[in-house]
C-alpha cells in the first residue's frame, strides 16, 4: 500500500471537524495503528458554526466536513484549498454519483470529496396523527392544531426557514425579501405552538414529549428502527437534499496527515464500516456494493426517485444571506 511510504512525514495527529455520531470510532484506531496519526475529533451543530470557526481563524482543523452548499463560500473566502488528487489514491471520481459529488468542484477545481448524502424530512408519532401526512403545509398546520406544543423545528436556518418557505410553495433556498417575510410570519405564528427549537430532537421524540419534528434521514431511520410508530417522510412539495464532503482548510497544521486521513476514510472498506455505524447513505458505488441489500432498499434512506427529485440542494446564498440569519434570530428571540 502506498500509505506506508508516507508514514514518516505525516506527523502524529490530525484534527477532524465533523458532525456528531458520524463516524465509526474503530476506524480512527485502525488509522492510528497504520500511520501513527491520532485523529482528534471536534463535533459541530451547524454549517454556520463551522464557517464561523474558520472565519474567526485559529481553528486548527486539518479536515472538516462541509455540506454541499457551503463549499463555494469557503472557496470565495479563501478558507479551503484545492485537493491534490495525487495524495488521494482512493478517490475514484467515477465511482461517485455525480449528484452528490458535483458541489466538491468549484471553478473546475476539486475542493472536496463526498462523504455521505441524505435528506431532511419530517418524523412524527403516527399514534398521535389522525392520518399520515407528507407535506410541509400539513406539518405547519398540524403544529398549530393537533400537534400544538409537540412539534420541534431545527435550530438551523437552512431547514427551518427553507421548510417554512415550502409551506407557501416558494423555493427552499429563497432569499427574496417578500417570500422571507411570509416565512417569518408563519414561523412567528407557529412559535407559540412549538415544543422546542432544537436540532437535538431524538430524546424528546423517543420519550414522547415531542410528537413531530424536522428530521435528518439517518436519524429518522434510527428512530423508526427502535420505535416503529415514528414515521419518516419527505415533504412532497420539496425540501432539502444534501451531501456532505471532506475538505481541507487553508493553513491546516497537519496537511499531510489530512490527506492521509481523507484517503483512509474514503477507502471503500473503511467507508462501508462507517456507513454501517452511522447509517447515512453513501454516494460511492464501491461502498454500496459492500453494504447489505436491505439497507439499500430502505425507503427512508433511499426514497423513491420522484420524491427525491423535488428536493432541492441548499444554495450557497442561504449560508451568507444576512436576511435569513436575522430572520432566524428574530424567530428564536421572539
Amino acid at each position: 500500500r502506498p500509505r506506508g511510504a508516507h508514514a514518516a512525514d505525516l506527523g502524529d495527529r490530525a484534527v477532524l471537524a465533523t458532525w456528531p455520531n458520524y463516524h465509526d470510532v474503530e476506524n480512527f484506531a485502525i488509522f492510528q495503528k497504520e500511520t501513527g496519526v491520532a485523529t482528534q475529533v471536534n463535533v459541530f451543530g451547524s454549517n454556520e458554526e463551522m464557517l464561523a470557526k474558520l472565519q474567526a481563524g485559529g481553528s486548527g482543523w486539518d479536515v472538516f466536513v462541509p455540506t454541499n452548499y457551503t463549499i463555494t463560500t469557503y472557496v470565495d473566502a479563501d478558507l479551503i484549498e484545492p485537493l491534490d488528487l495525487s495524495k488521494l489514491p482512493n478517490y475514484d471520481a467515477a465511482a461517485f454519483d455525480a449528484r452528490f459529488a458535483d458541489a466538491g468542484t468549484v471553478n473546475g477545481k476539486l475542493y472536496a470529496v463526498p462523504k455521505n448524502w441524505g435528506t431532511t424530512g419530517m418524523a412524527w408519532d403516527s399514534t398521535k396523527a389522525k392520518a399520515p401526512f407528507t407535506s410541509w403545509k400539513e406539518f405547519f398546520d398540524l403544529t398549530m392544531t393537533d400537534f400544538s406544543g409537540r412539534t420541534m423545528v431545527h435550530d438551523y436556518q437552512l431547514t427551518t426557514i427553507g421548510n417554512a418557505l415550502k409551506y407557501y410553495g416558494y423555493s427552499f433556498n429563497s432569499v427574496d425579501p417578500k417570500e422571507l417575510a411570509d416565512a417569518e410570519k408563519l414561523l412567528l405564528q407557529v412559535k407559540p405552538h412549538l415544543f422546542a427549537i432544537s436540532s437535538d430532537y431524538q430524546p424528546s421524540m423517543r420519550n414522547g414529549d415531542a410528537w413531530m419534528t424536522m428530521c435528518w434521514t439517518g436519524e429518522g431511520k434510527q428512530m423508526n428502527r427502535d420505535i416503529p410508530e415514528i414515521h419518516f417522510a419527505l415533504g412532497k412539495e420539496g425540501g432539502e437534499i444534501w451531501s456532505d464532503y471532506y475538505a481541507i482548510p487553508k493553513n491546516a497544521p497537519h496537511r499531510e496527515a489530512a490527506y492521509a486521513l481523507i484517503n483512509f476514510l474514503i477507502d471503500p472498506q473503511v467507508n462501508a464500516r462507517e456507513a454501517t455505524a452511522h447509517g447515512f447513505p453513501v454516494a460511492d458505488s464501491r461502498v454500496n456494493a459492500l453494504l447489505p441489500k436491505e439497507v439499500l432498499a430502505d425507503p427512508i434512506l433511499y426514497p423513491a426517485a420522484d420524491l427525491l427529485n423535488v428536493q432541492e440542494f441548499g444554495a450557497a446564498a442561504t449560508l451568507t444571506d444576512p436576511n435569513r440569519a436575522e430572520l432566524m434570530a428574530r424567530f428564536k428571540s421572539a
Binding site: F28, A29, Q40, N42, W61, Q202
Partner: protein
C-alpha cells in the same frame, strides 16, 4: 426546618441520582433504564475521544489552576497594603474580569488572539518555522484570566486578615525576608491558595463556553459532552458524568482534609 433541608437535598441530588442510575442502563438511551450493565463505563473508558477530552480538560485545568494560584498569589501579595493609582487600576481590572460573562470573554479573546496571531504569524513563521495558534495555550490563558482574579480576591482577603506580627516575629527571630516568606507567609496563606487553586481547577475543568470559543481544535470534556448531547445521547455520557463526579468527590475530600489541617482556631 429539617424537612425543608431534606427537600432541598433531594432537589440537589435527584438529577445526580438519575445520572448515576441511567449510567448503568443496558440500553442505548440515556434517559431510560433498560436493564443493568456497566458496559457504558467500559465504552467511555475505551473511547479514545473521551480519554482525549478528559486528558485535555485535566491538563488545562491543572495548568491554569497552577498559573492562577501562582500569579494570583503574587499579585495579591504585591497589592496588599498598596495604595495609589496602580492599586485602583488593578482593583478595577480584577472587578471587571470577575464580572464579564464567559461568552463575552470567550468571543473577545478569540477575536483578539486571532488578530494578534495573524499579525505575528508570518513573521514568526519566517523566523522560527513556528506558528501561534489557538489551543491549549489560548484556553489556559483565557481561564487564567478569570481564575487568577478569583485567587487574588481570596488570597488578598486572607493576607489582610493575617497577623502582621507573625512576619515581624519571624524577622525578629533572625529570618531574612525570603526565609520569612517561605516559612511563615506562604504556609499561612496556604489554605487560601489551596482554596483558590481548587476553585480555579473546578472552574476550568467545568467551563464550556470560554473553551468553546478559544480551544481551537482541542476538545475539552465539557465540549465533548456538549457535542454528544446535541444529537443522540447514550448512557456513556452518564457514565462519564458519574465518573467525573466520583473524582470530584475524591478531590473534595482531599481539599476538605487539607483545609482543615491548615485551619487554626482564630485564624
Amino acid at each position: 426546618m429539617r424537612i425543608y433541608a431534606l427537600a432541598v437535598y433531594v432537589f440537589l441530588y435527584l438529577p445526580i441520582g438519575i445520572i448515576a442510575l441511567f449510567s448503568f442502563s443496558a440500553g442505548r438511551s440515556a434517559s431510560q433504564m433498560q436493564g443493568f450493565s456497566t458496559q457504558w463505563y467500559a465504552k467511555a473508558l475505551s473511547n479514545p475521544f473521551v480519554i482525549d477530552a478528559l486528558k485535555t480538560s485535566a491538563t488545562v485545568a491543572l495548568i491554569s489552576a497552577i498559573l492562577a494560584s501562582v500569579f494570583g498569589t503574587m499579585a495579591a501579595l504585591a497589592l496588599s497594603g498598596m495604595k495609589g493609582r496602580v492599586r485602583v487600576l488593578f482593583d478595577a481590572l480584577i472587578y471587571i474580569a470577575v464580572m464579564i460573562p464567559g461568552i463575552v470573554i470567550g468571543i473577545a479573546t478569540l477575536i483578539a488572539l486571532v488578530t494578534v496571531f495573524d499579525a505575528v504569524n508570518p513573521w514568526l513563521e519566517a523566523a522560527t518555522g513556528w506558528r501561534l495558534s489557538m489551543g491549549h495555550g489560548s484556553l489556559i490563558a483565557a481561564h487564567v484570566l478569570f481564575t487568577m482574579s478569583l485567587v487574588i480576591i481570596i488570597v488578598r482577603a486572607r493576607i489582610e486578615g493575617m497577623d502582621r506580627a507573625l512576619i515581624e516575629a519571624s524577622s525578629d527571630l533572625g529570618a531574612g525576608p525570603l526565609a520569612t516568606f517561605w516559612q511563615v507567609t506562604l504556609p499561612m496563606l496556604a489554605p487560601a491558595i489551596m482554596a483558590g487553586f481548587l476553585l480555579s481547577f473546578t472552574f476550568s475543568f467545568d467551563d464550556f463556553i470560554i473553551a468553546f470559543f478559544v480551544a481551537g481544535s482541542e476538545t475539552t470534556l465539557p465540549i465533548y459532552i456538549f457535542s454528544s448531547i446535541r444529537r443522540g445521547v447514550t448512557p456513556e455520557i452518564n457514565a462519564i458524568g458519574t465518573m467525573v463526579m466520583g473524582a470530584s468527590l475524591m478531590l473534595l475530600v482531599i481539599a476538605q482534609l487539607t483545609l482543615r489541617r491548615g485551619k487554626a482556631p482564630g485564624h
